[in-house]
């Protein structure tokens, strides 16, 4: 039986290439994500360097377009999503008392399709730098006809890399669903699951519902480009707006795919460092499910200025504003969890608290954007850029870092350097606000997004943002150093790691054994 091999770890490169182990696969996901963070981050710095002054300084406008496009695609599909899948791989089996993921081989395939897909995207950029054609240059939302009639030849590679990413995400989500439904320890009923597991469970359903729709959208792009169909061409009875509808039917749930696991992480961390149970566990579960449901009926709020009938604008506006209710429930639950707790402020907690405050700012600007008449002013300005960077950087990315600090002692057996962690937090938190907060002002004043030049009255705020960007970017090298230092050594972590930590993963020794629970624990 396979049990005989349980503690025998494969060695060499084969350990990673052929892995069937949830921890090794999770590690690969997380390293892939961190690598892509530096790749996508470099692109962001090129954008911010160009925008330091008005006028064209450093790059050609054509290259600037490729930078905004690839920066967005890499950060969404190459950083945030893989990081959360990596966290799910490490944590879900440990948190539900399972030996591994339900389908370990498919798990590895989900991972290896990511570098496969991104190799094509990055190759098109390298060829563009070498002067052979252009990389995708139509923005990360790839609206038709920019991405069909007017797009470079590399778009067809981009389309197939989106297909591969979709296959990867659907297989990953199926695996998570099967693991959570089928591999829970005896006694762990659904309403006893840790909230991180709950949020991932719901996220997995979002993934299997919308990634195939994205596949359909890029397939229509492909046939419009190569086989003469007219889905997105009015001359044949189609409509470029059809692309936006299909894209945002995927795209809006997609933004919740990137934030629901973040909610889960914060809901694990805050109770630990407040030394209290999570306030309103049940309402957290229902709020997550409500947000997931609402995400399917709000997509056209991204298209307010496209000339939809007024009835549709009103429907999508009200449906969007409804999302504030379950999200508010969550924010109040986090605050109530901290209320009268015995708080300590280790690095994960600092990131979690920063998340609550800064994500709420991003939520409020989201509400402003939801108001259809006001959105006519905000559409396609830097205000939108400020909004989604508050929810994706100070929201999702901050919680990914919080999660790494929170669980890395369990993964490596060593505590990270707390002093350096705090330095990293303060550098990151302050520079992120210097970077993104001024974008609200230039956006409200009318500065358009995705343009390499701007009017001179926007100069000061853009310079602030650029300075913030470089501090933010280089601070992440410190994060890399802290992670490597924790892997190499440091104070030994206890089994419980944190004084107030609860959950099955904190009953396993640190570092956790190669196969998590060979005998399932009994949950009371």
């Amino acid at each position: 039986m396979s049990d005989a091999h349980h503690d025998h770890k494969p060695t060499g490169i084969g350990r990673w290439l052929f892995s069937t182990n949830h921890k090794d696969i999770g590690t690969m996901y997380l390293w892939f994500s961190l690598t892509m963070l530096f790749v996508g981050g470099t692109m962001a710095l090129i954008i911010r360097a160009e925008l330091f002054q008005p006028g064209l300084q450093i790059v050609e406008p054509e290259f600037f377009n490729q930078m905004t496009t690839l920066h967005g695609l890499i950060m969404v599909f190459g950083v945030i999503m893989p990081a959360f899948v990596g966290l799910a791989n490490w944590q879900v089996p440990m948190m539900i008392g399972a030996p591994d993921m339900a389908l370990p081989r498919m798990n590895n395939w989900s991972f290896w399709l990511l570098p496969t897909a991104f190799s094509m995207l990055v190759a098109s950029l390298i060829m563009s730098i070498m002067g052979m054609g252009s990389a995708p240059n139509f923005g990360w939302t790839f609206y038709a006809p920019l991405s069909t009639t007017f797009a470079p030849a590399s778009t067809d590679y981009f389309i197939f890399s989106v297909h591969l990413l979709g296959i990867s995400s659907v297989m990953g989500a199926l695996n998570i669903i099967a693991t959570i439904m089928n591999m829970r320890a005896p006694g762990m009923t659904y309403m006893k699951m840790p909230i991180f597991v709950w949020t991932w469970f719901i996220t997995a359903y979002l993934l299997i519902a919308v990634m195939p729709v994205l596949a359909a959208a890029v397939t229509m792009m492909l046939t419009d480009r190569n086989f003469g169909t007219s889905f997105f061409s009015a001359a044949g009875g189609g409509d470029p707006l059809l692309f936006q509808h299909v894209f945002w039917f995927f795209g809006h749930p997609e933004v919740y795919i990137m934030i629901l696991p973040a909610f889960g992480v914060v809901s694990q961390i805050i109770p630990t460092f407040a030394r209290k149970k999570l306030f309103g566990y049940t309402s957290m579960v229902y709020a997550t499910a409500s947000i997931a449901f609402l995400s399917f009926i709000v997509w056209a709020h991204h298209m307010v200025t496209t000339g939809m009938p007024v009835a549709a604008e009103l429907f999508f506006m009200y449906a969007t504003m409804l999302i504030a209710i379950p999200t508010g429930v969550k924010v109040f639950n986090w605050v109530s969890t901290m209320w009268r707790g015995s708080l300590t402020f280790e690095t994960p907690m600092l990131f979690a608290i920063a998340f609550v405050v800064l994500f709420t700012i991003g939520g409020f600007t989201g509400l402003m954007l939801a108001i259809a008449p006001a959105d006519f002013q905000y559409q396609d300005t830097y205000f939108v850029v400020a909004h989604f960077h508050y929810v994706l950087v100070t929201g999702s990315l901050f919680t990914i870092m919080a999660a790494v600090y929170y669980w890395i002692p369990k993964w490596t057996g060593n505590m990270y350097d707390e002093k350096l962690g705090k330095v990293h937090f303060w550098l990151t938190c302050i520079s992120a606000n210097v970077l993104f907060f001024p974008m609200h002002f230039v956006g409200l004043a009318g500065m358009p997004r995705r343009i390499p030049d701007y009017s001179i009255q926007f100069t000061e705020f853009n310079q602030m943002a650029s300075i913030g960007a470089f501090v933010f970017g280089f601070s992440q090298l410190l994060f890399l150093y802290i992670v490597i230092k924790a892997i190499k050594g440091g104070n030994k972590a206890t089994t419980e790691v944190w004084e107030g930590a609860e959950g099955l993963e904190f009953t396993l020794p640190s570092p956790a054994p190669f196969h998590s629970f060979t005998t399932p624990p009994q949950v009371k």
């Binding site: 395939w109 591969l164 959208a217 007219s230 044949g236």
Partner: protein, 294 residues
């Protein structure tokens, strides 16, 4: 349900198949793009065929491994349940893939075509941009007929499509009959049912090819004939592709039935294919109603 045989869950040894699969897909898509970018008249890139061969190797190898493990009794009830859950939700994701194309069809019929014809508040758009356009579905004239040549005639529901509907429905019946025979241990009826199902599946594909030739040569209905042709061929084409996969799977389990792989109480491989076949059947009913009939 979650407590049966806990602690014996099968964790496979390290496997090369995921890497083989990634390389196979990369080769295939690079071959596909190279073929699409080739000049007119050039044959498809060799890489495409190499990619297809690698995918075939992947399926033989990976599923072969799984079948061996299954035959050697490595899968307990909990593993079986994992397979059921993942197959079920995989089919759901396929439903959503088709939903994307059905969405495009409904959008074209309810919104983009009427709007181009002047509906809602688009009277002046129609008058100034496409005065000659007649917004009637199925489109026998396009807004700009110099770019997209409209078909001479639409594909009606009678004839081949109706026969194909009957064929697919019948194949679902024969498959269910075969399943009952398998559960009752009646090998003869099982084999008859499987052969009939495979024959019906292949017949469907044959007639579908026949219908495409009719569309191209006589009706002038092509991929390039505007939104009607676009939705018609992508919906029926992806359905046909799924029928091809389903028929291949049916052939595989028919061979496995011949080899006696399935027990009356343990035959998930058979059931998974049956679920998939019924799914393909249901999609066809949607197509028949909304693409051919209404």
């Amino acid at each position: 349900m979650t407590t049966s045989n806990q602690g014996n869950y099968f964790i496979p040894e390290p496997s090369k198949w995921p890497i083989v699969g990634s390389i196979a897909l990369l080769t295939t898509v690079i071959g596909a793009v190279t073929s699409m970018h080739a000049n007119a008249g050039e044959p498809p890139s060799m890489l495409l065929w190499v990619g297809f061969l690698m995918i075939a190797y992947l399926f033989f190898g990976w599923f072969g491994t799984v079948i061996n493990e299954s035959m050697n009794g490595k899968y307990n009830a909990q593993v079986d349940h994992t397979f059921r859950l993942s197959m079920m939700w995989f089919i759901f994701s396929e439903v959503m893939f088709f939903a994307g194309f059905f969405g495009a069809l409904f959008y074209a019929r309810q919104i983009s075509v009427p709007f181009l014809g002047g509906a809602a508040n688009n009277a002046m758009t129609a008058e100034l941009l496409w005065p000659a356009f007649d917004a009637v579905w199925p489109l026998l004239s396009n807004p700009d007929n110099s770019i997209f040549t409209a078909p001479k005639e639409a594909m009606g529901p009678g004839g081949l499509p109706a026969i194909n509907t009957a064929i697919l429905l019948a194949s679902s019946v024969t498959l269910t009959w075969a399943h009952h025979a398998l559960r009752g241990g009646n090998r003869k009826n099982l084999m008859i049912g499987m052969f009939l199902t495979v024959i019906l599946g292949v017949a469907f594909l044959f007639l579908q090819a026949e219908e495409y030739m009719h569309a191209y040569s006589e009706l002038g209905l092509t991929l390039g004939s505007g939104i009607y042709g676009s939705t018609f061929f992508l919906l029926t084409g992806f359905h046909g592709f799924h029928v091809t996969m389903g028929a291949t799977m049916l052939i595989v389990i028919t061979i496995r039935c011949m080899k006696g792989h399935f027990a009356p109480d343990n035959h998930f491989g058979f059931e998974a294919v049956a679920w998939y076949w019924h799914f393909v059947d249901v999609v066809w009913l949607g197509l028949f109603i909304f693409v051919y009939w209404l």
